[in-house]
Homo-oligomer: 195 residues x 2
Amino acid sequence: MYEILRKHIAQYITLDDVEFSQCTAFFTPRKLRKRGFLVQEGDVCKYAAFIHKGCLRSYTVDNKGDEHVLQFAIEGWWISDMYSFLTGEPTGYFIEALEDSELLLLDRQAYDQLTENIPKFERFFRLLLQNNLIATQRRIIAEHSKTAVDRYLDFLQTYPSIVERVPLRHIASYLGITPEALSRIRRELVNKENK
Amino acid sequence: MYEILRKHIAQYITLDDVEFSQCTAFFTPRKLRKRGFLVQEGDVCKYAAFIHKGCLRSYTVDNKGDEHVLQFAIEGWWISDMYSFLTGEPTGYFIEALEDSELLLLDRQAYDQLTENIPKFERFFRLLLQNNLIATQRRIIAEHSKTAVDRYLDFLQTYPSIVERVPLRHIASYLGITPEALSRIRRELVNKENK
DNA sequence: CGCGGGTTTGATGATGCTCAAGCCCGGTGG
DNA sequence: CCACCGGGCTTGAGCATCATCAAACCCGCG
């Protein structure tokens, strides 16, 4: 049950067996069906969720009713609204399962105790935040410097395992374009291939 | 010399006088003239810089030679490439003074010692990262859900003190539009005002 | 078989980019 | 003190990209 979590953590900090089994005690397993929500706009996001199996997305809905995907996450990733989770303010995001999923949840109390009992986890979560920030900054620069075609190609390169699993319209939303535009981009790409 | 830093830190953690004077020992003051660089692309970003006075920007240059502003920072803010600073990898950014500026620099060793000697600072830097991530995520959503006009108006609201100090073309770059487009947006806005 | 969600296609229009030129203003040197 | 220069901002015309809206298509599922 915890192998994936263990491998994930090992990428950032080294834990012995005792520490790891201590740490697992803080997580609560939870299943989420396809189209189920971990949180919805207005909720307080009570959990940071590690994905053991499945696929989720976080997104906002603007005042025109259009969705904007912030993040995808699959096995071995985390998903949450860190802001709401850490401040207790209501979230502006929806976090939805795109497949039947199995999560390992960490609530705020567990998070505090975990970082207190095993201080290495303070570092661990800082590294997660840091990597997330770096990726998010790169995304902004990419959106300013690259065309939609190139951003789609980058996405294919960077997240091949996600492309296979999520509907195109969500990818379009992530890239900041309409489904129609993504459709046309894909058409052009196969056209070029066949020349 | 350290009042601004003290106020800034007090927003996130509480330090007594002893702790604060301990902490100041880790900082190195440095002046930077207008148009001077703290780091340039290819350098390792050796410092996290707290701005005591002045104004800086970080930006990348893409392969067409176009600049893309990632961040502005004025008194009471930090600027750095956290990625390069924390990993030791060369940075892809330029960090340039837009005015004569006075900085308080923290190098990697000082950073490590500071977080070790005064563990509250671990929390402090995590909060900084976290706030930065939240703001950066909002920026992506805003770029997907709002027009350039609205993003400019938001910028005026959110960073009035920066608008006064920074050339318009840098603001255009931050917003992801050309200087010409920003110029036209501003023209339309004053037209509307006068009706 | 027919329904419905997701994707594609087409036509049209808005938004912002590119390139080129002009304007404004502050700084410099005669 | 003034003429000139240059950088930054503005303006204009034409164009590319992508959004919008509406309709068709495709395919899995009841």
